[in-house]
Symmetry: C2
Subunit: 482 residues, 2 copies
């Protein structure tokens, strides 16, 4: 991520997926490299997506009874040390503040890699009685993880996210919360980002440092690799014991609280690029697209007098109807240049309007995701555009779902497993005996990991472990991943 | 801010203003102390105010043509060193990251105290031609300043803010932007926070490190001290020269860009407490109150069957009308306890409803800011409540404006100046010769500083300098300040 090359042409997706990804992100001005290792600047066009994600997800977080708060950026080293499992998981990735002004600090401060420790400490002060439970708090914040290998949006030293932290009176309540959030994430990602996901539990090896159980949603990117899109952890009483979060129950006995934590991040923007993009560039689902409709006037003859006023009126009508619209009336670019520019930038719907269209009271609408053009009457355009955008949203999801189905395999034989990974990648369903050794060997030999153990497991068949061939009852989903 | 004392009773405002302020913030659960020096946790009730501020101000920022983006948390030390004036201003307050994981960094990273340096660097890459101007970007972010003396919301090691950073083709454009934002802040603070402000230019001594000119809005808190509420800087070409932000103008000549920066922070929440609060607790203007209306059912007899259903219906109707409502149906507290609790928490309007009220199809409405009670018919309650909230908003502003007027003095004599500061504080208008020496002496002897030189200056009289008695043409506003 230290590369400073100027992007003029985007490497074709089919030629080099990774390069296509970063070229596109920079050329479309979603993000740019910052001059510090592994850090990026989220440019306005990319940040607008994050604002849409925040707005749509924050509503769901609040509708399920959660409230927002803000906890400190810094966490004393001793707090992380209180919880060795957690510390071990994050220590190699922590950025340490050692000086305030000219003075060396008595104790180093971690720039938060996640906030369980500081929030656990505060909860121990706030929670005294069963009346104080549940505590259902979320925060929108930046976090820092000192990553060795970085890629814009997918893995950056600093990223933006939301982290929910809840406390409950029982295991059952905490487990219900964990699964409620998993389902909230699934519904959000499928509905708004138009990305179909699989979901379920992580293995012991892949779970969050300090959690009892980690659940995740995972999606298939268009290169056949999996991307973890969000996680929901049942923390059990682990952090409650470390930070002494206790409450007096109905019988006046002191009990440790049961906790959960959960988060999604700006990584979701990278997922949008990789799940839907094509050789012409980005393809944004209307629900989160920074611009939903771009209007391109055909600049011939006295278009400023004839076409532009009509285009402006259309823009205003669409805006008033609540749509995100941009009228590209720049004189210094041709309509053809604008067409490919806005295709590259993934705007779901383009309206073209020229002198003849004005006479005929019509516009030509071009859908980004399938390049199909249709003619629409200007009268009542708002309604038709809204319908069309809903249709585009569905079409983008359906296409991604077809891709996921076509690239999901059920495998019993390890050789077949390996050859699918070599040739096609995708999700591979296979039985696993549950041993960490088999899991590790598979990863070592194929670079594939267990993405999730689907939850619930559904009609329970039994089979043989993909690796050791011993009887196995766990149906797992494997993939290579980001 | 390291104090861990449990707050059960709030110190009366008249007795000890500072203690009243922190007691109230903790007792009302706006914020709590974090276990690190000078840091706080913004609790949900306080954070809800910030969310309201963000929503209302973000709309104004966007309506004036700005867009949001996100720049990195860390700034390389060498970037700050490029600009010595700026560095000198911030160096004593910078938190330094020296280690990533186990490795010492080659170059220390500053946790951003403000983002001119990193944004200047990025703008130098993005701005090439007059066509790229103006750049009108804002970010919502956290910043860190290692302060020696801290107080919740007013001055904390970490705080939340928005920082606008713009680039323009000429001095005139940059100056127009600087004043546009000053006016936007004034209108926002007066309209939404109901706090009247004075506004104008800062002196050389008080201006932002690296700016050509700093403008500010300032308000009088109810202890007679001034609080800086927001600043708007014309940066001139200073940072453009340092970071080489150049554009090709119409004549293909290379020019340095002209810049501005501007911000308001979570300090505004502290201002709300200090400007409007009284001995009964917080007084929030309806526009930013976390809860605008609290409904307290009078829990007598079979109130759960008779009163509660009506109260619930009222809550739903008010919610559907777009209001922020809380129905306090907790059985473990008495109505009387709830009355004073919600008064302390500053809810602008309380609706009381008992069995007799239900029979009479009415509620008793009690205004927080003046404690006046009136009876309202339940039919059509939404409209009446909205009108009442608008009236309360105006009344809170008018009260603060009267206070400001009563505590603004025009003074020619230095002795009188000193005695006003000792006895009453407030804003003091006086002439100043413009010398830094007089300014410094006044501060040394009275702890008062020039808050602003009102802009525009209005009908220009001439007088004599408050301190040196030489002829002076600058009409300045002095005050002791936070």
């Amino acid at each position: 991520m230290s590369e400073e090359r100027l992007v003029t042409q985007i490497t074709p997706k089919s030629e080099d997926f990774s390069r296509w990804y970063v070229d596109l992100i920079r050329r479309a001005e979603l993000a740019d490299y910052a001059p510090m290792k592994g850090m990026m600047v989220i440019r306005p066009y990319g940040y607008a997506i994050w604002e849409n994600i925040q707005r749509l997800l924050d509503k769901r977080i609040k509708d399920t009874g959660h409230i927002n708060a803000y906890f400190p950026l810094f966490i004393p080293e001793s707090f992380l040390r209180k919880e060795m499992e957690h510390l071990k998981g994050f220590a190699p990735e922590v950025a340490w503040v050692t000086h305030g002004g000219d003075d060396e600090l008595e104790e180093r401060l971690a720039v938060r890699p996640t906030s369980e420790a500081i929030i656990g400490y505060m909860y121990s002060k706030w929670i005294k009685s069963w009346r104080d439970l549940p505590v259902l708090i979320n925060q929108w914040a930046n976090v820092v993880r000192w990553e060795k290998v970085t890629r814009p949006f997918l893995r950056t030293t600093e990223f933006l996210w939301q982290e929910g932290h809840t406390a409950h009176a029982s295991f059952e309540e905490a487990q219900a919360e964990t699964l409620l959030i998993l389902e909230m994430y699934r519904e959000f990602v499928e509905t708004e980002l138009a990305i179909p996901v699989i979901y379920g539990q992580k293995t012991e090896r892949e779970k969050f440092a300090g959690a009892l159980a980690t659940y995740a949603i995972e999606a298939l990117m268009s290169d056949g690799k999996a991307l973890q899109m969000g996680t929901s952890h049942n923390l059990g009483q682990h952090f409650a014991r470390v930070f002494n979060i206790r409450f007096e129950d109905n019988n006046q006995d002191l009990q440790y609280a049961w906790q959960t934590s959960w988060g999604v991040s700006t990584r979701l923007i990278g997922a949008l690029v990789m799940a839907h993009g094509d050789d012409s560039g980005l393809v944004f689902p209307p629900q989160v697209a920074p611009i939903q409709v771009v209007i391109v006037p055909i600049s011939v003859g006295n278009w400023r007098e004839t076409v532009l006023p009509v285009a402006t009126e259309i823009k205003n009508n669409l805006k008033n109807a609540g749509l995100r619209v941009f009228l590209d009336d720049r004189a210094e670019y041709t309509p053809g240049w604008k067409f490919s520019e806005w295709e590259m930038r993934g705007v779901p719907l383009r309206l073209e309007i020229g002198p003849r269209d004005v006479k005929n009271n019509q516009v030509v609408a071009c859908r980004r995701e399938n390049q199909v053009k249709i003619t629409l009457e200007i009268t009542g355009l708002e309604t038709k555009v809204k319908e069309l955008l809903a249709e585009i949203q569905r079409a983008i999801f359906d296409k991604a779902l077809s891709f996921q189905k076509e690239n999901t395999y059920e495998v019993e034989d390890y050789k077949e497993f390996k050859s699918i990974l070599e040739e096609k990648r995708g999700f591979i369903k296979a039985f696993w005996c549950g041993s960490e050794e088999c899991e590790a060997k598979i990863k070592e030999e194929t670079m594939a990991t267990i993405r999730v153990i689907p939850h619930p497991q559904g009609e329970q068949k039994k089979g043989r472990c993909l690796y050791c061939q011993k009887p196995a009852s766990i149906a797992a989903v494997f993939a290579r991943s980001y």
